[in-house]
């Protein structure tokens, strides 16, 4: 396809998208008005099923199929990262060095870790009652674990982070969502249908399957983000390319003194970094 033709195809696509967007937005109620046709129906349906947080009712009950898609996007992204950022044959793994952390930073991070962890679990557990849910809480939980890297060092983080376990749990969370959806089929209704008793409005056990879907997403997101960051951290902290070192070594003898100086200086800086 020539450059000119490609540009025309792009222009056509953009124009089509613009026309469709304008046509779709023309029927919308005005911004900030008092009429909310979709909102009213969503609130009605949410209260019908004893789910206090309407947004959770939309994402995990009325539109749970959309959420399955979103969850799969994250799962696919984590899978892609695991494959792309793996240790290749020409790369070596250096054990991370212990790092010195200034006492105020360590105190703050160690204090914030349990609080953040608790907040994250609270957000997951109360998804059907208050703003939040599995996705938001899952990320908070994953972030909380990484406070250990700030408080101590990478070795401490690695000790509480058996990566295989988190990868398995990530897949289990994704599978749990699909299996919970299949429970709807077994109950004789539809895939992802809310088949459990709805419970009492505004209690932890309300909303039927909504808290269970929330928990599945929470596990998937928390473990997925931990695995994602682990791959990035491994690349940034541990994995070095042996190829590059072999290239650089013979140079050291041939180069002038000043460059050798810079190199040793450089190596010292690297150690201090890690």
């Amino acid at each position: 396809m020539s450059r000119g033709l490609r540009r025309w195809v792009l222009a056509l696509g953009l124009l089509g998208t613009a026309v469709l967007l304008v046509l779709a937005a023309r029927g919308l109620p005005a911004f900030g008005g008092s009429a909310h046709p979709y909102g009213e129906r969503a609130v009605h349906a949410a209260l019908d099923r004893h789910t206090a947080n309407t947004v959770a009712a939309v994402t995990f009950d009325q539109r749970s199929f959309d959420t399955l898609g979103e969850e799969s996007i994250l799962f696919g992204a984590v899978l892609g990262t695991v494959v792309l950022l793996r240790q290749t044959r020409d790369e070596n793994r250096l054990p991370p060095q212990p790092a010195r952390v200034s006492p105020p930073v360590r105190r703050y991070a160690l204090l914030a870790l349990p609080v953040t962890l608790l907040v994250g679990l609270y957000i997951v557990a109360h998804g059907q009652l208050s703003p939040g849910g599995g996705f938001q809480g899952g990320i908070v939980v994953a972030t909380a674990l990484h406070l250990l890297y700030i408080a101590v060092d990478y070795r401490a983080l690695e000790r509480i982070r058996p990566i295989g376990l988190y990868e398995a749990a990530d897949a289990a969370g994704e599978a749990a969502y699909v299996l919970l959806g299949a429970a709807g089929l077994l109950a004789g209704t539809a895939f992802l249908a809310n088949v459990l008793p709805y419970g009492t409005l505004n209690t932890l056990a309300s909303g039927g399957t909504v808290p269970l879907f929330n928990a599945a997403i929470g596990v998937e997101v928390a473990c997925g983000v931990v695995v994602l960051l682990a791959r990035f951290l491994d690349q940034a902290v541990e994995i070095v390319s042996t190829d590059a070192d072999a290239d650089a070594d013979p140079d050291a003898d041939a180069d002038s003194d000043t460059d050798a100086d810079a190199r040793s200086h450089d190596a010292a800086g690297e150690e201090a970094d890690t």
Binding site: G132, Q136, I139, A236, V240, A244, D247, D255
Partner: protein, 100 residues
Amino acid sequence: MTDLPLLAGLALVVAAATATVLVRDPGRQAFPLALLGLALGVLFLLLQAPDVALSQLAVGCALTPLMVLLTVRKARRRARPRGRADAAPARLRHEEEDRE
């Protein structure tokens, strides 16, 4: 007048987004990017969407900037030992940036 907080939130997002684009060094860009995440979170909160605000806060303030920083660090580590004799000044410059 009731729209004032909303306009302030929008202005904050515009300012943070512009700052993010104007900072050219990816390592430094992570910080205005985190601010942009915070500004978007505030805007969603003002638009009465606390669920989205929470997601935005967690992803935009913590996760994305951290991944940017880690990627920059990895790229610098790779660039360093590969440098030839003529790249020595560049290497020193990297070091200075790290110290800051």
